[in-house]
């Protein structure tokens, strides 16, 4: 998962919470917004951590130092 996807999931989760606040404001609270927000954020966090762990478990591929030179 890319960092941009993670950022979008955080934005979406925040907007879902804002919608929950709005539904409270209009007198018809919808807890479903909070549930979807929590599920989405949890899923994106899990995907991010799982991706990081996967990256740590596998040893980095051996490349010649010249190949990666100047990439960053």
């Amino acid at each position: 998962m890319t960092n941009r996807s993670f950022v979008l999931s955080v934005i979406t989760s925040s907007i879902l919470l804002a919608f929950f606040a709005l539904s409270n404001l209009i007198g018809q609270p919808q807890i479903a917004f909070v549930i979807v927000s929590a599920l989405l954020f949890g899923f994106s966090l899990y995907s991010k951590l799982a991706g990081r762990n996967k990256h740590l478990i596998h040893p980095p591929s051996v490349t010649h130092s010249f190949q990666s030179a100047g990439q960053k």
């Binding site: 996807s5 999931s9 018809q28 899923f43 994106s44």
Partner: protein
């Protein structure tokens, strides 16, 4: 929490699919039910238009078309930047989210009628008007050229479009038919909720199938498919308020903004953008956005519209 009985059939469909129930639902029946809904929506609008035609309809229609042109322009940069999709796929998905879902509209109408909330009779016309602009914008964004909108495209996608012909044709029949239309009412009007429940059962089965096909790395697609109905719904609510619509009208405009197409646009994209990944668009629009709208979005926008109108 009370769930509408019609919507409950959608949940039943998802549950059946997720539990692995082998439910044989003939393909022809699904198509017939969607045709029934389009005709019923058009007829209802036509019958209501017999009583009252709003003179401001032309200016409203122009605003609605502009709304349809705007929505894919909101979706496209999100798809390009956050999803890092190529122009073809970003354009194709943007077209889906700019167009409308007749089934989501039908659910909103059923919920409004169940709650005795009035809405403007001419809304089927807006549904028709919102079908096409997004497809044109999506194609232009995908190809990066205005040349894609040629005579063949207009003939195939605009003039010979099944949804447009059925809804607009039924709207005209309902309007010009006078008293003779009442003999169609027992079938098309009174059976509407029952047929919609059957249709939603099938939609639940399809949505459940799409949900189970979501891969682990689909965080972007889920986020986008939940974010867009909220943005489109808020924009639709704003447009409804600006146009001075009733509570039901504001809610329907919000639902039209929030919904994503999964019938007309995929067919158009298959023809005009065969290189686009159709599975991704359908999974987002049908597997995520449609359930989100039916279960959460539509009731919320109805409540919001009621609050704003008061």
């Amino acid at each position: 929490m009370v769930i509408d009985s019609v919507v409950a059939f959608f949940i039943l469909g998802i549950v059946c699919q997720l539990l692995g129930a082998k439910m044989a639902f003939p393909d022809g029946l699904y198509k017939t039910l969607s045709m029934f809904l389009m005709i019923a929506i058009g007829l209802k609008g036509g019958i209501a238009l017999q009583k009252h035609v709003d003179p401001a309809l032309i200016s409203m229609s122009i605003a609605v078309v502009a709304f349809g042109l705007l929505l894919p322009l909101v979706a496209y940069p999100i798809l390009r930047y956050f999803g890092q999709l190529d122009k073809i796929n970003a354009g194709a998905i943007a077209a889906h989210y700019g167009s409308v879902s007749v089934a989501t509209y039908a659910v909103a109408v059923a919920l409004l009628e169940a709650n005795n909330i009035a809405y403007e009779a001419y809304f089927p016309l807006f549904v028709v008007l919102l079908e096409m602009p997004a497809i044109i914008v999506g194609l232009i964004l995908a190809k990066g050229s205005f040349k894609v909108v040629n005579a063949h495209f207009v003939k195939k996608e605009l003039i010979a479009n099944q949804s447009i012909l059925l809804m607009l044709g039924s709207l005209i029949i309902g309007y010009v038919g006078g008293q003779s239309v009442t003999k169609l009412a027992p079938f098309f009007i009174e059976l509407f909720s029952g047929i919609l429940a059957l249709f939603l059962l099938k939609m639940g089965l399809i949505a459940g199938e799409q949900l189970s096909s979501l891969k682990k790395n689909s965080v972007f697609l889920i986020s986008f498919a939940v974010l867009m109905p909220m943005l489109g719904g808020v924009a639709g609510t704003g447009l409804g308020v600006m146009l001075g619509l009733s509570a039901g009208g504001i809610a329907l405009m919000a639902v039209l903004g929030a919904s994503a197409s999964y019938i007309a646009v995929p067919a158009a994209m298959k023809q005009s953008l065969p290189e686009a990944n159709a599975g991704m668009s359908i999974t987002a629009s049908l597997g995520i956005t449609f359930p989100f709208n039916v279960l959460i979005g539509v009731p919320f926008f109805i409540a919001l519209a009621g609050y704003l109108a008061n």
